[in-house]
Symmetry: C2
Subunit: 146 residues, 2 copies
């Protein structure tokens, strides 16, 4: 996990460099994503901001998350059921471990993970831009209460 304050600063810097206005709503979304506690979805970000921004619209959250994603400052995690969750703390490809029971998401340290991008590019002729590695299972907490 990166330092959330540093990540927030980096996001703000990118926004400035690309001439986007720093509205309170936009900065608030950026701050939540810089922490990315639990890899929130749009709804969670919205709920988290409601107390401080009672009039904020869900559409505004969507627009800002999309903007940050297009700037490469947020990683989008889409799931087979169509749901999306976001990580603005580590906005680069990295493996995830997802509990299908409580929907918790963990970032594991995989010592044996080598980058297979070159091999894939070599074998398929593709220019590889990004990748994704997710493991699905049941977490320790859920296992113990079953």
């Amino acid at each position: 996990m990166s330092d959330p304050n540093e990540r927030f600063g980096a996001i703000v810097k990118t926004l400035r460099e690309n001439n986007h206005k720093l509205t309170p709503q936009r900065l608030a979304v950026a701050k939540v994503l810089a922490h990315s506690q639990g890899h929130p979805n749009v709804e969670k970000i919205y709920e988290q901001l409601m107390p401080s921004f009672p009039t904020m619209s869900l559409a505004t959250v969507y627009r800002n998350v999309m903007l940050l994603k297009s700037l490469g400052e947020v990683l989008e995690l889409g799931f087979p059921d169509g749901s999306n969750r976001y990580d603005g703390n580590k906005p680069f490809p990295h493996p995830h471990v997802i509990c299908i029971h409580c929907t918790k998401i963990i970032d594991p340290d995989l010592v044996s993970l080598r980058d297979m991008t070159a091999e894939v590019a070599d074998e398929t002729g593709f220019k590889i831009l990004t990748h994704r590695l997710d493991f699905f299972g049941i977490c320790r907490d859920c296992l113990s209460t079953m």
Copy 2:
């Protein structure tokens, strides 16, 4: 790629064993998925069946794809944009290489791919049930016409 006829047979066997009726529509969906040419989405399966089953409903395709998925005979590939595509030819986790330009999907042979399931289970305490490894990029064809 497995032999589509064998896969079709295996799917039919599973349907029988689970006491599901073998309607013409269901068998037609199973046949398309046994081939899984280009990893179709529901719409594509529907279009492919329209000539032979002009009155078939999209809902029927959805229902049968979901049934086969629940029986473990189809692998669902969900993407961040919310779209889903299916593979009934190799219904077990395997890596995919996806062209973000023409949406083509390829199954690469990765000689160096080791199974990291045990390591992830060990490090996180999860009971790992499945996983997913996707590479995104631009295919040779699209690269050459850019």
